[in-house]
């Protein structure tokens, strides 16, 4: 009868009947777009090799995810179109030296997607940032190739074998100088200008802080990243390194240098802000970011590696459930202005 009254079979669902335009795919592809300046700068400095490294990491990540979804999860659909595997691949590529052997990169992608992401159930379920897990795995498995840095911009665009010439990273130089004092390496250290604009040794994504910040600001403008989170990460890093510098400027380099050098920018704008592996409330995210920054500073100053960004974020990822339990958003009707009622 009701069919006769309406004339057709209508859809029934609970309200709301409106949906925001923002989808997971839109978020992920926006991140891909935000990584484009870094990609271009990487190619500018490391030539065709950087492009191939990026494409390999992205391709391997996408293929691994697709295979797992289709043949391990036995689903008819695939999840690679949401772009999250592309993001993971790009971040992995920007966290390795441009001269990395491609097969090692593929192994890293398999670990990143297969172990760190899909083994936990796919997007949203991974406790650790997949790209960083992949990088950490590569760093312990292929320590030499992972720390052989080609000199940026020193070779032609089409040069394939970058590993012939190697350069130390700024942070590596600082670390090496150690107790001997910074004066020993002072003439080798790149200027702040090069750090900001590019042209320094390191991973592909570490080449230019400016490119990373541009992408980050795009995400802030889109509303996918709260601006305060990356700033707090950098502030945490600056605080620790700043205290050390204030105590002994002869041994430790100043905090601005720490913030601009290495993967700090990439970590602050693209990895601390990773939605899945950071806490849910804004206060939680802020404390999370600041703590990770402090940790990164401590690792850089006192740890065995010159770089501490990846490990600082991975360690904090493990603490996310604790953050979620303790940092809750402010509930309406429980505050002081609500008359203290429970």
């Amino acid at each position: 009868m009701s069919t006769q009254a309406t004339g057709r079979s209508l859809v029934v669902a609970l309200p709301p009947h409106e949906r925001s335009e923002v989808s997971v795919a839109r978020i992920m592809w926006s991140v891909v777009l935000a990584l484009m300046p870094t990609t271009l700068v990487g190619i500018w400095f490391y030539g065709i090799r950087a492009a191939v490294v990026t494409l390999t990491a992205v391709g391997a990540s996408v293929v691994v995810e697709h295979v797992i979804v289709r043949y391990f999860f036995r689903r008819d659909t695939t999840t690679v179109t949401d772009g999250s595997a592309v993001v993971t691949g790009m971040l992995l590529a920007y966290n390795v030296p441009a001269g990395i052997p491609l097969w090692q990169l593929v192994v890293g992608a398999v670990v990143a997607i297969g172990v760190a992401k899909m083994a936990f159930g796919g997007i949203g379920n991974n406790p650790f940032n997949p790209a960083l897990v992949g990088r950490a795995f590569m760093l312990v498995s292929f320590p030499v190739d992972m720390t052989t840095w080609p000199v940026p911009g020193s070779q032609g665009f089409a040069t394939w074998n970058l590993d012939a010439v190697t350069a130390a990273t700024p942070l590596g130089l600082v670390k090496e100088a150690g107790a001997g004092g910074l004066s020993a390496v002072a003439d080798q250290l790149p200027s702040y200008g090069s750090l900001f604009l590019g042209n320094i040794g390191g991973c592909i994504g570490e080449a230019s802080a400016l490119a990373v910040v541009l992408g980050g600001l795009y995400l802030v403008w889109k509303g996918f990243v709260p601006w305060v989170v990356p700033l707090l990460y950098l502030a945490g890093l600056g605080l620790v390194t700043g205290i050390a510098w204030a105590i002994d400027p002869g041994t430790y380099i100043d905090p601005l240098y720490h913030i601009l050098a290495g993967g700090a920018m990439l970590g602050a704008w693209f990895m601390v802000t990773d939605m899945t592996t950071s806490p849910m409330s804004l206060t939680g995210r802020m404390v999370f970011a600041a703590s990770a920054g402090l940790l990164a500073g401590i690792i850089r100053l006192f740890g065995g590696y010159p770089e501490g960004v990846s490990y600082s974020i991975l360690i904090m990822n493990a603490l996310v459930p604790v953050f979620d339990r303790h940092f809750k958003p402010r509930k309406f009707g429980y505050g002081a202005s609500a008359g203290g009622a429970a």
């Binding site: 009868m1 009701s2 069919t3 079979s9 209508l10 029934v12 669902a13 609970l14």
Partner: protein, 292 residues
């Protein structure tokens, strides 16, 4: 080299010994005193912790049985999934009489299949009867019938319920069903009832829960009970097992003798039986005018 190996072995051995001692001491010190009979009775129970007995899992039931046995009477306790066999064994263990529980089975009281109650709307939400029940009356428009999302199938601990994709209704496997009652609680429309399996598995029940007016009920479903009373008239002359309330008949399973005479008289085929019911008598023409 040998020294290194020896040293490692010694250190690890010592560590192991220290931990073993700690564990031993703690295990002894904090050991919970438990009646050994509870453990033994738990062993005899099916071990599926369904809660159908009314106690929290099989150990809970075992503790209750031991308590009751100390009081000298366990006849009020029953393990539906274990059945008579289990209870007899437990009775022998305690040397006490056990109650004789009737064998029962879960029965679905809705016949609104895709064919009998065709869908008029299309539900767009989580596959959950509980959510769908809060959303609307149902794709077929019946506010009492099966929603077809299989909450019962999910909740059944024995895989005794399967959704039939052709009818859209759940089916109970009598062999697997233990009458634990999980489906009764899970169904937001209270469509399941635990009924005796009946002699030679013969049972008859009203396959509908709709209490709407006959017109409204028939609008959505061709096999809805309209409370016409023909079955009751038939049964009144035999065992008076059928009552009618709010346009809906109900068969009292304690009185019903599963003769099946009510099945063919139902004008909407709303009565279900597990056996081939007797053919209607030619007297049918007589009963019909009386009903209208």
């Amino acid at each position: 080299m040998t020294q290194t190996i020896l040293f490692s072995v010694l250190v690890l051995g010592a560590v192991a010994a220290i931990f073993a001692t700690i564990l031993y001491v703690i295990a002894k010190k904090f050991a919970v005193e438990e009646d050994p009979r509870v453990g033994e009775v738990t062993e005899m129970l099916p071990g599926i912790n369904c809660g159908a007995c009314g106690f929290p899992g099989c150990p809970g039931m075992a503790a209750a049985l031991v308590d009751a046995a100390d009081g000298g009477d366990i006849s009020h306790l029953n393990c539906p999934p274990g059945g008579q066999e289990t209870m007899t064994r437990i009775g022998e263990y305690f040397g006490l009489e056990v109650g004789s529980a009737k064998e029962t089975v879960a029965v679905l009281r809705c016949g609104g299949s895709c064919e009998k109650a065709p869908a008029k709307a299309s539900y767009d939400g989580p596959r959950s009867c509980a959510v769908a029940h809060g959303t609307f009356a149902g794709e077929n428009g019946c506010a009492f019938g099966c929603l077809g999302h299989g909450d019962c199938e999910v909740v059944c601990p024995f895989d005794a319920i399967t959704m039939n994709p052709d009818t859209g209704l759940p089916e109970v496997d009598q062999e697997k069903c233990t009458s634990c009652g999980a489906c009764v609680d899970a169904c937001p429309r209270n469509l399941f009832e635990i009924r005796p399996v009946g002699r030679r598995d013969r049972r008859v029940w009203i396959n509908c829960r709709n209490t709407e007016s006959p017109v409204a009920a028939k609008k959505n479903c061709s096999v809805a009970c309209i409370g016409c009373g023909l079955c009751k008239k038939t049964c009144d002359g035999i065992v008076q097992a059928i009552t009618i309330e709010n346009n809906l008949a109900y068969i009292d399973h304690d009185k019903c003798i599963a003769c099946g005479k009510c099945v063919p008289v139902c004008p909407t085929n709303a009565i279900a039986a597990t056996f081939e019911p007797p053919k209607p008598k030619p007297k049918k023409t007589e009963t019909e005018p009386a009903a209208t």
